[in-house]
């Protein structure tokens, strides 16, 4: 029985193709990151990498640990929805080391929210800084932690 021989040019091509395919499979196995497909079609380590960044803002709960009295005052007034770092800036350094002081927000800080604008909702108390006691600082009449009180 005579087996039909594969023509030599085809045989060489088949060998070449096999070599390429095998190289590809090996390369794919070696180069795929180990944590790939752990949760889905991505590197599972990426979740841990994202979670490992250091937070910058301390968060309101951190302030609550020492400044409960101020929080109590805040909760009574209209500023109860405002976090501490909204006005005082990033508090992480101060939370780690209380000797580092935070800024009391400057004068323009109040205007950031309270400057009148036709785009702002009506429930927000707004003032026109040109007409509203231009000479004075906001804190001479208003207490930021308890806005319905006077100093």
């Amino acid at each position: 029985m005579v087996r039909p021989k594969m023509p030599p040019q085809i045989f060489r091509l088949v060998l070449l193709t096999l070599a390429i395919v095998v190289t590809y499979i090996i390369a794919r196995y070696l180069l795929t990151p180990a944590s790939f497909r752990q949760y889905g079609f991505y590197r599972g380590e990426a979740l841990a990498e994202h979670a490992s960044h250091t937070p910058v803002f301390a968060g309101r709960k951190a302030c609550l640990e020492c400044h409960e009295d101020i929080q109590a005052k805040l909760f009574k007034g209209e500023h109860k929805t405002i976090g501490c770092e909204t006005c005082h800036g990033v508090g992480k350094e101060h939370a780690d080391n209380p000797d580092v002081k935070l800024v009391k927000i400057g004068d323009n800080g109040c205007l950031r929210c309270h400057e009148a604008s036709p785009s702002r909702p009506a429930w927000l108390k707004q003032i026109n800084p040109k007409n509203h006691y231009r000479e004075d600082k906001c804190v001479s009449c208003h207490v930021p932690h308890q806005p319905n009180e006077v100093p």
Partner: protein, 413 residues
């Protein structure tokens, strides 16, 4: 130095008009000249291959002189196709990841495989089977670097018997048949990349892949006409007029189909006028005026349609040298027009804001990786490679058995 390319003329336009999302309001587009270039190049590859398959599969005998030239053109451009993509990536050193972990829901992920398949299993293989007989002959007579190349390409097989050559031709025919859908896939997936982006109404359109493929075929045929005429002029040889006339005929009919589908796209958009259409229309009129109305429509479509159509009707009355000039003009115009079409698709989609309320005016730089200069260099690179390929594989002085543009006087077989 930066040129305002919103209308290719220098104008002082604001960065954007209306409202655009802040992340869109940068000075430069995310997908620039390089991404305009990539579909252009792969389109030329697909089109040139279709031209070659007209000979192999559909046995259009008059086109035989350009068979090998078309394949070599396709190869030269395919070899350069990855470069615009590599240069565009933020991390080209990670580009291998697209083959290692291809995300199969992404049309871009098939790039590595389709490219590898098309290069190795279609183009190189078809070329190899067509040239094998000549490689064996040339490896025995040529010396120096070309000799080494020919010997390497024989893969050590020196069989030139009739049976082997018949097998070569049959394999070439099979690969050509497989190659036609492969060519459509190679360029169609790029159209699908744009067509699948539902976020962008300029792009996300079911006709997009079809328009891409059709304009690719037109541009590929035009490139073959262009290359054939330039090669003949450089070599001071007579052009085969029958071949040129048939190429012109295919070019005309391909252009008719392409223009029809593109016009359909426009008519449908204008008629259904979904949200954002008025902004799109403003953008097409203002930002894309020179590249769309002048470049793509007038120069790239209408003028070639008229000239080629006239030639179809009046061919016998028009003297040869006038016909040659008309074919060359049309081919050049079409090449410019298809480039303008790619430009309009890629840049237009980015000028148009996803807020549906605004239009950007991105600038393209001259220098830098995403600039004009790099684009022009990358566009000329395939021609340089083609010159090398012609010197090696379409040399006039070497005897050959295949379909070549100009036969040497003392050819054997």
């Amino acid at each position: 130095m930066s040129l305002e390319v919103t209308n290719i003329v220098v104008e002082n336009l604001p960065r954007f008009e209306g409202y655009v999302y802040p992340n869109e309001s940068g000075a430069h587009p995310l997908w620039g000249f390089l991404i305009v270039l990539y579909p252009y190049i792969t389109g030329l590859v697909a089109g040139a291959f279709i031209m070659a398959s007209l000979v192999r599969v559909f046995r259009v005998k008059p086109l035989e002189p350009v068979y090998r030239l078309s394949l070599l053109t396709a190869l030269a451009f395919l070899l350069c196709a990855t470069l615009p993509l590599l240069f565009h990536l933020g991390h080209p050193e990670r580009s291998f990841q697209i083959m290692i972990t291809p995300h199969l829901t992404s049309p871009m992920a098939i790039f590595g495989f389709v490219y590898a398949w098309y290069l190795m299993a279609v183009l190189l293989l078809e070329l190899w089977f067509d040239y094998r007989e000549d490689f064996v002959a040339w490896s025995q007579t040529e010396s120096g670097i070309p000799g080494i190349i020919y010997r390497a390409f024989t893969l050590g097989v020196n069989d030139r018997s009739e049976k082997a050559v018949a097998l070569d031709h049959q394999m070439s025919w099979i690969i050509s048949i497989v190659g036609i859908p492969s060519a459509f896939l190679l360029h169609g997936y790029v159209g699908f990349i744009f067509g699948s982006i539902k976020a962008n109404p300029w792009w996300g359109n079911v006709l997009m892949p079809i328009i891409f493929i059709l304009s690719a075929m037109v541009s590929g045929i035009a490139l073959c006409v262009f290359n054939y005429m330039v090669l003949s002029w450089v070599r001071r040889r007579q052009v085969d007029m029958r071949c040129l006339d048939v190429m012109g005929m295919f070019l005309f009919y391909a252009l008719v189909i392409d223009a029809t589908v593109e016009a359909l796209d426009w008519i449908h958009r204008a008629y259904s006028a979904v949200e954002g259409f008025h902004v799109m229309e403003y953008m097409a009129r203002e930002r894309l005026f020179y590249t769309l109305s002048i470049g793509q429509v007038l120069v790239g479509t209408l003028i070639p349609l008229l000239l080629l159509g006239a030639l179809q009707l009046l061919r016998k009355r028009v003297p040869e040298n006038v016909r040659k000039r008309m074919y060359f003009t049309c081919a050049s115009f079409i090449l410019v027009g298809v480039f303008a079409m790619r430009w309009n698709v890629v840049m237009g989609g980015q000028f148009f804001s996803k807020s549906l309320r605004g239009v950007m005016s991105y600038k393209l730089q001259f220098a830098g990786v995403e600039g004009w200069l790099m684009g022009l260099v990358l566009l000329s690179l395939p021609f340089i490679i083609l010159i090398v390929l012609i010197k090696l594989f379409l040399s006039e002085r070497l005897p050959t058995s295949g379909h070549v543009p100009h036969r040497a006087e003392n050819v054997a077989g």
